[in-house]
């Protein structure tokens, strides 16, 4: 017999904060909560058909799709210039990821660089450092193997380091 789904409220309480951290990393703090609404509303709609055994992977898959949809719709309309508060917010949220990369939060350029990574590498880096998942869990969340997750994070970090070196060069 298939495992029973927990009440949606229980599922939501368990996953809200990690998915929120993921979306902040994927689309930035200003749009994260809108994406979060879309994510959990879509999850609620499809919930009765979800597989109870792998709900974490399931919800991160939905969140990743919502983040991609968000970027697509942003590209279609003119990019607004960021408000000062937005920039401060972006720096604040850059804290965990950039410190994990061995940089001070001052280097918010790194965060911009994270946003420029290819989606799969960005998702892997954010899940590893902003959501603080283990590689096995990153793999589960992305529907890939632990090894593939490790590889994505590795490639992502390599690009970020190269970018950091460029910045150092420019600062000279």
């Amino acid at each position: 017999m298939a495992a029973a789904l927990p009440p949606f409220q229980v599922f939501l309480d368990e996953h809200l904060q990690p998915v929120r951290a993921f979306l902040r990393g994927m689309v930035g703090p200003n749009d994260a909560d809108d994406c979060l609404q879309e994510t959990f509303l879509a999850a609620l709609r499809a919930y009765p058909r979800a597989e109870a055994t792998n709900l974490r992977s399931w919800i991160f898959t939905i969140a990743r799709r919502k983040a991609i949809d968000h970027h697509r719709s942003r590209r279609r309309r003119p990019q607004p210039v960021g408000e000062p508060e937005e920039l401060i917010d972006r720096q604040a949220s850059a804290g965990s990821a950039s410190s994990a990369l061995g940089m001070s939060a001052r280097h918010s350029e790194i965060w911009t660089a994270v946003a420029e990574l290819p989606p799969s590498q960005r998702a892997a880096v954010v899940l590893r450092f902003a959501v603080d998942l283990r590689y096995r869990e990153v793999g589960e969340a992305l529907g890939t193997s632990e090894e593939a997750a490790r590889q994505s994070v590795h490639e992502g970090l390599k690009k970020l380091r190269a970018r950091a070196d460029d910045l150092k060069e420019m600062a000279r």
């Binding site: 029973a4 409220q9 909560d33 959990f40 009765p48």
Partner: protein, 185 residues
Amino acid sequence: MSEFMDRLVARADTDGLLDVAYATLDTPLGTAMVAATPRGLVRVALPNEDLDRVLTRLAADVSPRLLEFPARLDEARRELEEYFEHRRDQFELPLDWRLTHAGFYRRVLRATARVPFGEVITYGDAAKRAGSPRAVRAAGTALGSNPIPIVVPCHRVIRSGGAIGNYGGGPEMKRFLLELEGALS
């Protein structure tokens, strides 16, 4: 995050995605829980029941699309509060009977729902009113499985000798309710 939750749950309700809404309420007996589908009140959990287990059962028996959404339970909570404050002797809530077995069990519970405040009947009376006078034990089982206690007043059914009989929330709770209704004098 509570503003986020309010927005999410309100949208879920508007979009018809909220199959079961629940809320807790304080009573003189402790914290109870009430749950409703769009059809009506489907479950009342007495304070001695484990909330996590009740929710897990509701998810399995009704729908996993179950969220805390007190707004849908405003009327139920108000009527129950009034009942405990001696300001109400009859509930006017739409009920969703889906958690009761159709047939004899449901007939027993529907008959019990018509026993007025302050009165009691025996298990034999309940069996008779449900159309099977000899099924006294089965009537007891039906009452014991009542998913909507207090509102469907199974506490008003007692033993023929005058003993108070069993109750899901324990005999103390049954006595408290009957005393509140002035039925034990």
